[in-house]
Symmetry: C2
């Protein structure tokens, strides 16, 4: 057994069974070993941001890490932006980054670079394996590091000779570091605060936004009158009919301040205090209202679910029935020209139960987030770190974890252009992903921002830097070029027909929705 | 005047007059200021690797830096791989990386990241501007740093408030640090070594591979019998009819060793000693033959051209007439199925004088590099750092510098998929770039490598990780999707017709050459 096989077998022994990769010469032993390790599924991406984004989506839907296979510093660099998003989503990921053989590192070959330096800003754990004898154990440690609550990026650098030299064995999995339980005194403190607050709110993030976490939060809300909130960009949220409703904090600072006005207690469950996404001249960054008490129930690395459960007990809310969202789908007219609103109305009307809504619709989607809130039950995944080009790749990982669920990606055209290679992997793996391109033919979010930052009126050159016309991007051609069936629609009826057709069929589809 | 305008005016005052960019919210003041600074041309790219690659190509053809405009850590991350290539090309580039306002940096907003940490591995110079009052001077220093020989990556981080606050003035340009002249004793040493060597060779890199550098090298070769060599991946080389011929070192270690066998003196002019691109089990990394004397005439930061000129004097070679390449275009049969060889034969036959050949044909191109060597005079640009996805973007920069010259990009399909957004910018700017996709439908270089590294025979999973079939990539659709006219050809005649048509017309074209 060589190091590559020891590494692969140690990864699968530790529960890592999917590898999203794009290998190069230095990873050929790893690639070669794939055929002798049947437990490892390997999925090719044609750009590394597809790979790291897919691993993010995989982690969000499975709760466990996939591994990536990246080719030296440049391969890692290409995947860095979606590792940034994954880090902000607390998604566990194990990166395997090939490197030159140790004997080769001193000679500064053209592909040599400071891989540790490149990895550090996005990684919680970085280590260079120095021997095939240890690489299995190093992999087990990487998986352990990735699985530490709330979910970490672990980057293991694999020099080529560590892969090709003789190894001993497969490493045993290491115990996972469980999330820390919250002290009872903290539970009591928060319970007391909730009892006496006039206008309490609870800001939730992490796995408390689904399953029993959500139910307990609903009981607490029912019992205390607290509002339930989540961040604008919660990594994953369960919502829809029958579920406890959680208000999403709006995007802009002044909207958040308005939303939180009068709140005198903000309880944080795995969340950080709300902040403005960007800075603007003379606008605040911290958005906790004046006079509001911030109270941490659980930090991100702590067990928020058990904390909520204990809080239910402490409040005596165990018998409270949380308010459940009632099914309500929007009206939809078959006539008229499409806009972002009508697109999302049709999605809300026709998406199937248990769909996974993957959202990078940015400026088009913000105002219409509520439209899908009372549709059939579904999961909602957000762009977490603001690095566009994330969610088409995240959809890949989600679809790999949940082959029986329909994945629907809502994405702006500017965003979609970043990681359009995602479509090829969706086609190759026959993933059940419907991509809706909200084609407003510009970085419309920046038109708004030019005004918001108080920049002078948009001139010709400024305008040219934020619009995607001249030439128009033809998404139907782009999708077909990557083997994905696609259609362009401009009217209500056309979109409804295309979307219904996509919902009825398995496999990847793309709908270019031209919106005004 | 605000900081953004002071920055822009200081850049143009220092000679930086082209900005390749993809802005975000934090760069809106910069974008807004563009319209008041008419000297700055701004070009939008829809992915940052397009932007940094374009800046690399601009630097290679102009010898001076363009600036990039990148959106925080993720924008920089997306452009990192082509900055790696640019660094290996010694291309001067000034990166302007927007960041949150300084007041916002403490609050760890979703887009916050360690920008300095991300920049460091690819940058020779990194600085965060702390005030609108200084940002102009900071820009002048960045340009000075970028222009230091042989060409550096300078990264200036621009917090949003540094752009939007009041500034004083425009900074004066700083003097450029000229390349150091080589000491006369070094010239004399090398002259003496060349006189007494039995089988000398001179390895050239940098600006000595063109204009008078090449002529002087040719005189020295004529006088001493030395072979003239360049690296496999020389950033830029002038070649073709009438020019002094330079042998390219082959790619694989054993080929280099064979090529250099018997060489007893290797003179380095701006080059480093030859090394193997990758490490392989039981193969050497350093490729200088045993017993060969390595002798540095000039380091990369030194003035290689004046050193060669002095060496001509020292050798008394001023009257030697260098051997000039004779025009010789290959035969081309109109019948038969395309392969890499016939594609490059047709290119050699029909490319116009002064074309710029931009090469990322990787495995398809290596064996056929010689075919274009005696075509009409042209410039040849190589992928320098091994990070694929470079040269379609480099073509943009080359075409911006040289609007009157035909740019021909030879690129493998695997490589082309990395930065295909380059086509959109080529269409928008109406750049005269003909892209030839050598579509072998796989990472063919890796098929070879699997065997070379001694990896076991390729299994089904291993194969699936290095082939681009299932689905086929349809380059004609992809190009059309980005507004570039395209055609697919599979036969000799079809390619010749398509290529001739592209040569006759201005503007971007793409030819998908399906090769066996």
């Amino acid at each position: 057994m060589n190091g590559a096989e020891s590494l692969l077998r140690s990864l699968t022994a530790s529960g890592v069974t999917v590898c999203f990769g794009n290998p190069g010469t230095s990873e050929m032993h790893f690639v070669s070993a794939l055929d002798s390790v049947s437990e490892m599924r390997c999925i090719l991406g044609l750009h590394e941001n597809v790979i790291t984004g897919a691993a993010d989506g995989y982690a969000r839907m499975s709760g466990k890490p996939a591994c990536t296979l990246l080719h030296l510093g440049p391969g890692l660099s290409n995947g860095l932006a979606n590792l940034h998003n994954a880090r902000r989503a607390s998604s566990p990921i194990v990166n395997i980054v090939g490197d030159h053989a140790l004997s080769h590192t001193g000679i500064d070959a053209p592909l040599a670079s400071d891989i540790i330096g490149i990895a550090r800003p996005v990684s919680h754990w970085v280590y260079t394996s120095t021997s095939a004898r240890n690489v299995g154990a190093d992999a087990a440690r990487a998986v352990q590091a990735a699985n530490a609550a709330p979910g970490n990026i672990a980057t293991l650098i694999l020099p080529a000779d560590t892969a090709w030299s003789d190894a001993d064995d497969v490493a045993n999995p290491l115990p996972f570091v469980s999330p820390v339980d919250v002290a009872q005194c903290t539970i009591e403190r928060v319970a007391a605060q909730l009892r006496y607050a006039l206008s309490p709110a609870i800001l939730l993030r992490g796995d408390v936004l689904r399953d029993e976490g959500l139910i307990h939060a609903g009981q607490i809300a029912k019992h205390t009158g607290a509002r339930l909130l989540c961040d604008t960009f919660a990594p994953r949220l369960q919502r829809g009919a029958g579920r406890v409703a959680v208000e999403r904090l709006p995007y802009f600072a002044e909207q958040v301040l308005e939303s939180l006005q009068g709140v005198d207690l903000l309880v944080l469950v795995g969340a950080k205090p709300p902040v403005s996404f960007f800075a603007y001249p003379d606008k605040p960054g911290w958005l906790t209202p004046e006079g509001c008490t911030l109270s941490v129930l659980s930090h991100p690395h702590e067990n928020g679910r058990s904390a909520l459960s204990s809080l239910v007990e402490a409040l005596g809310a165990a018998k409270d029935l949380p308010a459940a969202t009632k099914l309500s789908v929007p009206e939809f007219s078959r006539t008229g020209a499409l806009d972002a609103r009508s697109v999302i109305q049709a999605v809300a009307r026709h998406m199937p139960e248990n769909a996974i809504l993957v959202d990078e619709s940015v400026s088009s989607g913000f105002p219409h987030y509520g439209i899908t809130a009372s549709a059939v039950p579904h999961d909602y995944l957000n762009l977490t770190g603001g690095a566009i080009g994330s969610m088409m790749a995240v959809s890949i990982g989600a679809a790999v974890v949940c082959p029986d669920r329909k994945v629907i990606t809502l994405v702006g055209d500017g965003s979609a252009m970043y990681t359009l290679q995602s479509l090829w992997t969706q086609a190759r793996e026959k993933l059940d992903v419907t991509t809706v391109i909200l084609a407003n033919r510009g970085y419309k979010v920046l038109h708004n921002e030019l005004i918001r930052v108080g920049a002078a009126q948009e001139g010709i050159k400024a305008h040219s830097m934020i619009e995607l016309t001249n030439p128009h991007i033809d998404w139907v051609s782009l999708a077909r070029g990557m083997g994905v069936e696609a259609v362009r629609v401009e009217l209500h009826a056309g979109f409804e027909d295309a979307f219904l057709s996509a919902m009825r069929h398995q496999g990847p589809r793309l709908i270019e929705a031209v919106i005004g």
